[in-house]
């Protein structure tokens, strides 16, 4: 177990986290399925598929650890601002999905567009406000006329 001193182990924490999520979802699903019933009618496909899935997770885990010569430059990572923007956009999406029924589709959509346009680089607030308002109205009335469901609205 002696480590070559000229090499360093680099851990890709993000990848490891994704694998942890996938692995625990598969494991939890397998346990839930076994808790429902142990009859073949229930386990026939899910149990072997889940076991294969867990095996594949174990096979991929080593790919999260890479050796790199000590002297080598660190890989040019993506600029943090890119990650921050993507995270912001995902947060805005989550907020939209969770709030649309509570505060009305019109208000939620408008707020999402406002925030997302800013995140994606629209600096002019007048353009942003105008576009968001017009697009929200088109969307509400457009989808409103063609889908057979009502949706909660606050202002429109």
């Amino acid at each position: 177990m002696t480590m070559n001193r000229s090499h360093r182990i680099v851990v890709n924490w993000g990848h490891l986290a994704l694998l942890a999520v996938i692995g625990s979802v598969i494991a939890a699903y397998l346990l839930d399925t076994r808790a429902t019933s142990l009859r073949v009618n229930n386990l026939l496909f899910v149990q072997p598929a889940a076991l294969i899935g867990l095996l594949l997770v174990l096979l991929v885990v080593p790919q999260c650890f890479r050796r790199r010569p000590a002297g080598a430059e660190a890989e040019p990572a993506q600029p943090l601002s890119h990650l921050a923007k993507a995270a912001g956009l995902m947060a805005a999406l989550v907020a939209l999905a969770l709030s649309m029924e509570r505060i009305g589709f019109d208000v939620a959509t408008f707020c999402f567009l406002l925030a997302a346009l800013r995140l994606c680089g629209e600096r002019n607030w007048f353009v942003n406000l105008g576009y968001s308002a017009v697009f929200t109205a088109i969307l509400i009335y457009g989808y409103g006329t063609i889908i057979p469901f009502p949706f909660p609205l606050t202002i429109l």
């Binding site: 229930n42 096979l59 993507a86 969770l98 997302a116 346009l117």
Partner: protein, 505 residues
């Protein structure tokens, strides 16, 4: 086979009520428009316009509804190519190569290929139907669970070929999708993995999950790009290039014919249809193409294979509906309802007694396919302008349309929540080089695979000798083995041919 007197009768029917033709173009436009809106299904479009047909005569009513069907079938490929959004599950394989083509500035070509493959696929399927309606319908009911398992396993072969750079990661993505596809109540009535959420009883909502995995995750990853197509010169909307795509598509007759055949046969099986046929056709084409490695990176053959199969599934579904009176899916259920309002009940006796009406429907669909060519060209040309919209407007707008579309599917918040969860998952998977397409395919196949393996086990009592009683299933397995064998053989021959060439160069 062909009954000339009935065909003559069909011509008389079609020419006698000229007013029927008024409805084709509005129907196609409605279909194109609804089909291209994410989340609006073909069934929904037809259900909304069904009450209107009560006031029409039989033939115009059917022509109008089938025109919506045809239009919506193609409509779904427009957002698939331009936005990576499969608005319906039948356009999944279209995104695999259509979207990469669009991003590299070949959007005109991709849309042209898609349109031409759709039109020819649709034509070919109705042509096949003209001859095969009776045999196809007799095969459909014979499809037992073992045969369906064979079809599902054939579809799963695609998981391997979508694996990308790392086989374990690709397989993991596929298996994860398959497992997610079995969440909810299984075919024997056991409920798993719902975490107490009532709407998960029916499984993970497929279309929102696909939109999240394929489209939303992409858009989030593009947050720093200025335009969908980086190169300004490529952002042109060119009629000539659409036509170029057209010609390109027609230069793959084998692919389109194979796609149409797969589409008709799979489309005729109730409850399976176009969502599986486009995957099978793509998979077969990819495996048999000499340039199979470039699939998934913008190969027009992939677009042609997917579109030929999903458009021709309409013909297959119509065969089952006309010959057996069984709706294979929502769209044909609506058509049957429209039939019924005019006192016409589909089924074996309908085919036997009303051949002229059957042929009239088939012939009018030929005309619809040809008209789709014209209407579709205009539609595609206009839709192409999306590539000129700066990403800072496009990303938020498309995300919000996807959220609305996911809500529109059943009018509950389950759609948007699924979309967001899978958007985040998809973004992370793309970031660490997992093929999200494999997860999508798994998700689509999961319950099909489980349900049919389970029924096979139930029906056979676990006795493998049951397979010997099912020659149809053995035939499908043999064809599958043959197809894989041929691929391996031709790949080896290509490699051998390549080695001396490399040596001499």
């Amino acid at each position: 086979m062909l009954d000339l007197a009935s065909i003559q009768g069909a011509f008389d029917l079609l020419t006698s009520s000229a007013s029927a033709w008024v409805f084709v173009i509005p129907g196609l436009l409605i279909g194109l428009f609804f089909g291209s809106m994410p989340g609006i299904s073909i069934t929904m479009a037809m259900a909304i316009f069904l009450p209107m047909t009560l006031y029409m005569d039989f033939l115009p009513a059917i022509i109008f509804l089938t025109a919506i069907y045809t239009g919506a079938g193609f409509g779904g490929s427009v957002p698939a190519v331009l936005m990576n959004i499969p608005g319906t599950s039948s356009a999944v394989a279209t995104t695999f190569d259509g979207y990469p083509m669009a991003r590299s500035g070949r959007h005109n070509e991709a849309l042209g290929v898609a349109l031409a493959a759709s039109v020819t696929g649709c034509l070919a399927s109705y042509l096949l139907l003209l001859f095969l309606i009776v045999p196809v319908s007799s095969v459909v009911l014979k499809m037992g669970p073992l045969e369906m398992s064979a079809v599902a396993i054939w579809g799963m072969l695609l998981l391997g070929s979508l694996s990308g750079n790392s086989l374990p990661r690709g397989l993991l993505a596929g298996v994860f999708g398959l497992l997610l596809g079995t969440v909810g109540m299984n075919t024997a009535g056991y409920v798993r993995g719902t975490m107490g959420v009532p709407w998960l009883l029916d499984g993970v909502p497929t279309i929102p999950a696909m939109m999240g995995l394929l489209a939303a995750s992409q858009l989030i990853g593009l947050v720093n790009t200025k335009y969908l197509i980086e190169d300004e010169g490529s952002r042109k909307i060119s009629f000539a290039k659409i036509i170029g795509g057209f010609r390109l598509s027609l230069s793959f007759p084998t692919i389109i014919l194979r796609g149409s055949l797969i589409g008709v046969i799979i489309g005729a099986i109730p409850g399976v249809g176009s969502s599986i046929s486009n995957l099978l056709s793509y998979s077969e084409t990819k495996r048999n193409a000499p340039d199979g490695d470039s699939f998934g990176r913008g190969n027009p053959k992939g677009v042609a294979a997917a579109e030929a199969a999903n458009s021709s599934s309409e013909g297959g579904a119509m065969a089952t509906m006309l010959a057996l009176g069984i709706p294979g899916g929502g769209a044909t259920a609506i058509l049957l309802a429209a039939f019924a309002t005019h006192n016409i009940v589909g089924g074996p006796s309908f085919i036997a007694n009303s051949k002229d009406i059957v042929y009239a429907i088939i012939l009018s669909n030929f005309a619809q396919a040809l008209l789709l060519l014209g209407v579709g060209l205009g539609f595609v040309y206009l839709a192409g302008y999306i590539v000129r919209v700066p990403m800072r407007f496009l990303i938020p707008s498309v995300l919000v349309v996807a959220v609305f579309g996911s809500y529109a599917i059943d009018g509950t918040i389950s759609g948007p929540i699924t979309l967001v969860v899978f958007a985040i998952l998809g973004w992370a998977m793309v970031r660490y080089d997992y093929p999200v397409a494999a997860t999508v395919v798994g998700l689509l196949l999961g319950s099909l695979v489980e349900g049919n393996l389970l029924r096979t086990w139930q029906i056979s009592g676990g006795d493998p000798a049951y397979a010997l009683e099912r020659p149809g299933a053995l035939l499908i397995f043999a064809l599958m083995a043959l197809s894989i064998g041929l691929t391996a053989w031709s790949a080896r021959r290509r490699r051998r041919a390549a080695i001396p060439a490399a040596g001499s160069g």
